[in-house]
């Protein structure tokens, strides 16, 4: 049996408090006491699209950054395709594409093509094969016409697409996206969601884990939803399952119900991950 695309077991992350002034000098290595993730567990199967939902500070970005090997967990384990992100970061990185929803992270004076060629080289793709791959991914993501313009002249939406093209360039099995339509206008966002769901997930079987505050987007793309609150896992189920479990008709109402402090656990919680709530 193949390993899940993403496996997270009892993952905890504590950050040290942000100190300023004299206190930062007196305590340069202060103990990590602020909980960002409090022992969450779940799995994502290959080809599945899972959304992470929660308030600001719920731990969504921290979870994605741990999976992207940019943050080290305090305790617990996270693996991509069976490769531990902490112990075997290099192998895990070969399986992931990571993109935050901003229009940053490029060399502004280079063209989109030059940027993609550089990052392709960093992912071991060079020469004619890299050039062909850049062209095919640019067509897929919809940036082919603007590929030879300097990045500083591109619109926010186009730069954003370029970011997704970079994340997808080496054909990763897992895409990690942090608020993927944050800076897009409604039409571009709809187009982007269609492309994510139809082209990358359905047609190519890419596993997608994305954080979002837009519930219509979550409803449209996600097979399952991971609901976080202050680093705790409140629920992990399909949109339909969450609605049924809470007896509500909309996803918004279901999540509002679950995020209430006194809300009972949702039916179907952790069904596919087989994990108990922490």
């Amino acid at each position: 049996m193949s390993a899940p695309a993403i496996a997270v077991e009892n993952l905890e992350k504590y950050f040290p408090p942000a100190l300023t002034g004299l206190r930062s000098l007196l305590h340069p290595f202060a103990r990590a006491t602020q909980c960002a993730l409090g022992g969450i567990s779940f799995t994502v199967e290959p080809g599945e699209a899972m959304a992470i939902v929660g308030h600001n500070g719920a731990g969504k970005s921290t979870l994605l950054r741990i999976l992207a090997t940019l943050i080290v967990p305090t305790r617990g384990r996270a693996a991509l395709g069976g490769f531990d992100v902490e112990r075997d970061g290099q192998a895990a990185r070969s399986r992931l594409g990571y993109h935050t929803g901003g229009d940053e992270g490029f060399y502004a004076r280079l063209s989109g093509r030059e940027n993609l060629a550089f990052f392709a080289a960093m992912n071991n793709m060079m020469g004619p094969a890299a050039r062909e791959r850049i062209d095919s991914v640019a067509r897929l993501i919809g940036v082919a016409d603007d590929l030879d313009r300097q990045v500083r002249t591109l619109s926010t939406g186009m730069t954003h697409r370029l970011g997704l093209a970079r994340a997808f360039l080496h054909g990763p099995a897992v895409l990690l996206l942090d608020e993927p339509t944050r800076s897009l206008d409604p039409l571009a966002a709809a187009d982007f969601r269609r492309m994510l769901k139809d082209d990358l997930v359905r047609r190519r079987g890419t596993t997608l884990l994305f954080a979002s505050h837009t519930l219509s987007e979550v409803d449209e793309i996600a097979d399952r939803i991971l609901l976080l609150d202050h680093g705790k896992l409140l629920a992990c189920d399909s949109p339909r399952g969450l609605r049924a479990a809470t007896g509500t008709t909309s996803l918004e109402a279901a999540i509002a119900h679950l995020a209430r402090p006194s809300a009972p656990p949702a039916r179907g919680f952790g069904e596919r991950s087989g994990e108990a709530p922490s």
């Binding site: 090997t69 940019l70 940053e104 060399y107 280079l110």
Partner: protein
Amino acid sequence: MTLARTLRKIAAFFWRDFSIVRGYRAAFAFELVEALFGVATFFYLSRFVESPQLDRTLPAGSNYFAFALVGFAFFDYMSVALTAFDASIEEARQNRTLEALLVTQTPLRVILAGSAVYPFFALALRTCVYLAWGALFFHFSPRGANWTGAVAVLLASILAFSGLGILSAAYQILFKRGNPAKWLLLGISGLVGGMMYPVAVLPHPLQVVARLIPVTYSLEGMRAALLAGAGWRELLPSIGALLIFAIVLIPASFAVFGWALRRTKVTGTLTHI
């Protein structure tokens, strides 16, 4: 990772930086003129510097202008090494490319090495410009120079300085800005390293300090190769000392940088500005 793949990745870094700089052609032209002004300043300054003690310590057949020109041109390798690595980290953090780089399949040591290739290449060009201006207009004559020896000293110097540069980058990634150790090291190196005057004219305690920093050996070796045409046997002490610095500093600096990077991954401050 194979050596060929590593070299191609380093070439990608070089091409990236070259492509960015290519957009600023006017700045390159201004640098050429600036170098001419610098060389001219040394030339006219050197006409007023005369001392029997200085003459005794200069390489045979040399003069103070040639001595200062070589010192000035090659001291820059120390400055660039100490700034290239942390500047590349800072720039990547500012333009948000650091995270994008760190999630690729390129090891940290290749990212660091690649980031420094273009700055050293540009400096090598600048050094040639300095020497060319000196030769064209100010009677600087490296006719009897041991050029292969000079290249060997230069490569050993770059290796030794790079260790210090990576340590500086470790400080930068951990504490974000302001690196007092870098400025202290540059200040001490400028004072006792022999950039503008021979180490022999310094008081004894400062001469001892001079022996503890790599730039002293670099400038001695470079002057011996370029101004006195010294052979390999005479260059060996300088090259050997520089290689010892490199052997100690490079693994230590990579270890410290790896620890600093991990620390920022623990604290979540990797991309904080």
